[in-house]
Subunit: 345 residues, 2 copies
Amino acid sequence: MTPRSHASRSITTHDVAAHAGVSQATVSLVLGGNPRARVAQATRERVVRAARDLGYRPNIVARSLVRGRSYTIGVVVPELSNPFFLDVVSGIQKVAVEAGYAVLLCDARDTSPGRHLEALRGRQVDGIVIDALGAESLPADALDGLEVVLVDEPSERWPGVASDAPGAGRLAAEHLLGLGHRRIAFVGPATDVHTFRMRERGFVARLREDGISLPSDWLRRAQPSIAAGQAAMRALLAMKDGRPTAVFCANDLLALGALKACLAAGVRVPAEMSLVGCDDIELARVVTPELTTVAVPARELGARAARILLRRLEKPSEPHKPQKPLPVRLAVRGTTARPQPETER
Amino acid sequence: MTPRSHASRSITTHDVAAHAGVSQATVSLVLGGNPRARVAQATRERVVRAARDLGYRPNIVARSLVRGRSYTIGVVVPELSNPFFLDVVSGIQKVAVEAGYAVLLCDARDTSPGRHLEALRGRQVDGIVIDALGAESLPADALDGLEVVLVDEPSERWPGVASDAPGAGRLAAEHLLGLGHRRIAFVGPATDVHTFRMRERGFVARLREDGISLPSDWLRRAQPSIAAGQAAMRALLAMKDGRPTAVFCANDLLALGALKACLAAGVRVPAEMSLVGCDDIELARVVTPELTTVAVPARELGARAARILLRRLEKPSEPHKPQKPLPVRLAVRGTTARPQPETER
DNA sequence: TTGTAAGCGTTATCAC
DNA sequence: GTGATAACGCTTACAA
C-alpha cells in the first residue's frame, strides 16, 4: 500500500517532518539542498525516505516568496513566427531549464513589450532576456531593478551578446562580387533594428570597396516578412531601366519572399537572379532551389545570453566583460550563380 | 519630484498603507480586486492614489501562496519547431494572458513529458494543456490533482478539443478522387498519434468507397518531419512497378518534404505528381508551387483549449460537455491537378 | 467601514 | 545537530 497523495492538499515539509519524527526546520535543511547544512547522517536518511514515501515536492512558490527570487526568467522577442527567434529562445530555454529556472515567453507581436514587462515584473521574474527590441527605447523605469541581458542589440547599460552583423553583410557582398555580379540590390527591413542596420552597413561598405554603389531605387525597405520580401522583389523586377542581377536580403524571410516573387514572375533563380539571405533558418533548405544565406548561430546566441543572465543572478557584483560578436559563415546553396554573360535586361 | 522605486526592495501593500494612512488589510481589500469588498469611496480613492504614486505592483508570488493558485498554466507540445504547434500555443497564450495567467511552455523534444510535468507541478501550475502527446500513457499519477485539457487526443478522463481528423482525410481523398486520380499513396507518421491515425482512417475509408485500396507499398510510415517526407517520397518515386500519381501526406511538413523530393528528382508538380498536405501552416504558401492542403484551425484549437481550462479552474465543479470537433476545410492550391492522360510510369 | 490577526509553505537565524 | 521562531507579501475571516 503506497501512500496516496490525496490531491486535496499537497505534501508539505510539515507532513514529511511528522512522518520522519523531526521538526519541520530539519526537513527544510535536509531537502533544501543547502550546502552548509550539517545534519546527522541518520536523520538525513530518515527525512529523505519520508519525503520519498510521501511523494514530497517542494513548493517553489513558497520558496520564491521567502528567498525573494522566483527562479523564473522572462524572454521577450519580436515575433516567434520568425524561426530565427524560436531558435534563440530554444537556446535560452535549454540553459535555463538545466539550471532550474523556468522561462516565461513573450511575443511582442501580440502585446507591447511594455505590457509584457509589467506582467513579468508582477510575477517577480529574476531577470529578462530581450532580443532585438530596442530596450533603450522602453519606458525608462520599465527595467529598473531587473537583471537584463540583450541579444543582438548594443547598450552600455546592459550586457549582451550579438552576432557579427557587419560581417554577415560583408560575406554576402563578397560572395556576390566574387561571382561577378555588379548590378546588386538590397532589401532591408524598414524597422529600425540594429542588427539589420549593421548587416546593411557591412554589405554596402564591402560593395563600395569595389567601387560599386547602390542606386537608391535598389535599396528597398520592407517589414521583415515573407510577404514584404515578395512585394519588394516584385518592385525590383518591375524597374524600367534594367534590373539587378543579384539581391541581398537582410534576413531569410525576406529572401524567401523574394525567391517566391521571382519564381512567380518566371524569373529563373539563380540563372537570371541571384539571391542571398541571412540567418539560415531551417526553411532555407526547404525551398527549391535551396537558399544561399549567411548562417547566424541563433541557438548559441540564446544559450550565451542565458548563461550571462544566470551568472549575474548568482553573483550580481561581478562586472560583465563584453564578449566578441559570434562569427557568422556563408552557406552557399542553390540561389546564387554567376550573372548571365549577356543580359542587359 | 516623483517617488523613486529604489530598486532595493519593491513597494508592498504596507508601504501603500502607510502612505494612505490606512491599514495594510484595507489596501489589500481595495487593490485585491475582490468583488465583495465594501470599502468607503473616499478611502478607496486614497488607496488607489497612494498605490499609483508609489508605483505599487502586486506580488503575484505572494498572492499565489496564500490563494493556493499560481495563475500559471503549463503547455506541453511535441515540438515547437512544427509551426502547427506554435499556432496552437499562440492561441492558448492569447486567451491565458488576457485572463491574467502566465504560460509555461514545454517542448517535449528537449525533455520528456514526464520531466516537464514534474517541473510544472513544482511550480504549482494550476492546470495543463497537453497537445497530441498520449496523456494516457504518462505515469498514472503524473497528472493527479491537476486540471488537464487535451488537444487533438481522445480521453474519457479529461476534457479536450480536437479537429475533425477523419474529415481531413476524407476531404483530401475526395479532392484527389474528384481530379481523377486512382493511383494514390499515403505518407503517415510512424509515431502513434491519434489525429494522424484518424486522418489516415478517413482517407482510406473514402478511397475504399470508390473501390480503391492502398497497396501496402504505397502506405509509407515516417517521422512527421520534412526530412522524413523527403525520404518517403524518394522511396515512392523509386518504385519499380509504376508510381502513384498522387500522394496525401498526414501533415504539411511531410508534404513539404515530398514536394522537395519531387522537384529534386525532376518530377513536375502537379503535372506528374499531385500532393496534398494537412494543417495549412504558413510555409504551405511559401513554397512554389503553393501546397494544396487541408486547413486545420490551430489557433482556434489552442484558444478553445485554454478557455476550457480556465473555466474549469474558476468553477471546478461544472461538468464538461464534450465539444464537436472543429471543422477543417480544403485549401486547393498549386500542388494538385488532374493526372496526366497517358502516363503509365 | 476598517483594523487585527492568523495563516499560506518555505527559508534562515538563533538558541538549545 | 536540531528545533523554535520570525519573516516573505498577501488574502481573508473576524472583531471593533
